[in-house]
Amino acid sequence: MSAQLGPGERADAARLLLKAYETGVPVPPLTATHPGLTVEDAYDVQLRQVAEWTAAGRKIAGHKVGLTSAAIQRQLGVDSPDYGHLFADMFHLDSQPIPAGEFLSPRIEPEIAFVLRKPLTGPGVTVAHVLDAIAYAIASLEIIDSRIEDWKITLPDTIADNASSGGVVLGATPVPLDGLDLRTCGVVLRRNGRIVQTGAGGAVLGSPVNALVWLANTVGALGVTLEAGSVVLPGALTAAVDVGPGDTVTATFAHLGSVTATFAALSEED
């Protein structure tokens, strides 16, 4: 699929999304306001926002891969994942209050995150390269969010919106991959103490490792290297659950320990 929109229209779409972050007011689906928006256009819209953010001094800390489960691919009618950019200021601390007001309509999902010890430059990256480049796996929770009204997203909408990124919480225990079977590595997700989802690494393109291969080769084709030290969120092990002020969500993994996201209650002034 090639670009359909002119540069002016793509810049306009990027401005709409940047404004939504600023005002906290979501926008209608871009595929409605900018008919003809293709996947290629959408990545350009994402990169225009990334350029604005880096120019403003924000630091890229890694990437996320989205749309990696059979269920979500069926729901959006796609057969490929997508990716977005993670910035250092999107990382929150395990068990430390997260200001819920930072988000528009946040949802949360458990992931087996990777931290790289070597750079990965695609195309041509295989599972063997990826396994060699991963320093460790670590329990994580991804906060996803949408600048599009009511999550009414199609594939180009979510790609343009930085793959619906919101925030990241990493656990505290790095685990080397040696001998870990990530495909059958289980997770139990609790919200306010109650089990809301369970899943396993196999939900992520068969294994989270596969998502990293896809990411390295996909961004590699655009001339982008995944840097040593960067964090990759390869995709969710379960469906996402809604979160709001006052909620506490804990993901307990086999082998990887647990990680907790706690959202600050709204104060009375709010």
Binding site: S69, A70, A71, D181, R183, T184, C185, G186, V187, V188, R194, I195, T198, G199, A200, G201, G202, A203, G206, L237, T238, T252, F253, A254
Partner: protein, 259 residues
């Protein structure tokens, strides 16, 4: 029709034998409540035993707390397994004998001790378990489109049709069943994942609740019996030529084809 327990059991057995799905019993017999439904189920199993089948265990259904709350119950429903439901390893699901089969992965217990409520807890239930296995259950409602109320499905022996149990047997002692994961595949593609926590928080919790509920009906789970603890994921439909697999963290894998 003049409905009673015998008639209802006979109608459901005939639907199973003729592969003919029907409307819910409760449409025609609104008085069918949960207690009566369990008596229909019992009569249906007695008829199977009269025809030469042997009772081999128990299966638990509706083992998610969220679903129980929606249905207004506080423990899993139970059904009875006979050897007529056993699918041997490497034998395809016999589509010609079933109506609209679906497959779901389960954690299966073999009981080492008799378990009789009331007063059974998850810890005492687990103590009565001899071994834990991977399993696949093939369900096949005798009702059109799997549309039924709680008494309907209980009377229909909880849609039981076939099951198979993996050959690897592990002691429950050192297993973390809440985090024991399952990856369900259809023709090689992952279609769902879950862990044992999807079953009532822990399969032993489901077993304890079921043992206590059975005691209220004057029944126990016997030593040596199998217990299918409940579907870990939503059930997937199977068609001719499909291969369904369930890969577990520690319990090994089970695969089945349909023909």
């Amino acid at each position: 029709m003049n409905w009673d327990i015998d008639t209802a059991a006979a109608v459901l057995l005939e639907a199973e034998r003729q592969r003919q799905d029907r409307g819910p019993l409760t449409d025609e017999w609104p008085e069918l409540d949960l207690g009566t439904a369990y008596r229909v189920q019992k009569r249906l199993i007695e008829k199977k035993v009269e025809a030469g089948e042997k009772v081999v265990g128990v299966k638990l259904g509706l083992t998610s707390r969220a679903k129980q709350e929606r249905m207004g119950i506080t423990s899993p429903l139970t059904a009875v397994l006979t050897d007529g439901y056993v699918l041997e390893a490497d034998v395809p699901i016999p589509l010609a004998e079933l109506i609209h089969p679906r497959v779901e992965p389960e954690i299966v217990f073999v009981m080492g001790k008799r378990l009789e409520g009331p007063g059974v807890t998850a810890a005492t239930a687990l103590d009565a378990v001899e071994s834990v296995h991977a399993g696949l259950e093939i369900i096949d409602s005798r009702y059109v489109d799997f549309k039924f109320t709680l008494p309907d499905v209980v009377a229909d022996n909880a849609s039981s049709a076939r099951f198979l149990v993996g050959g690897k047997a592990l002691s429950p002692k050192n297993l973390d069943l809440a985090l024991e994961a399952c990856v369900l595949t259809a023709n090689g593609t992952v279609v769902a994942t879950a862990t044992g926590a999807a079953v009532q928080g822990h399969p032993a919790e489901a077993l304890a609740l079921a043992a206590n509920a059975l005691a209220a009906r004057g029944e126990a789970i016997e030593a040596g019996q199998l217990v299918l603890t409940g579907g870990l994921t939503d059930a997937v439909f199977v068609h001719a030529g499909d291969q369904i697999g369930a890969e577990f963290t520690s319990l090994g894998s089970v695969f089945v084809t349909a023909a």
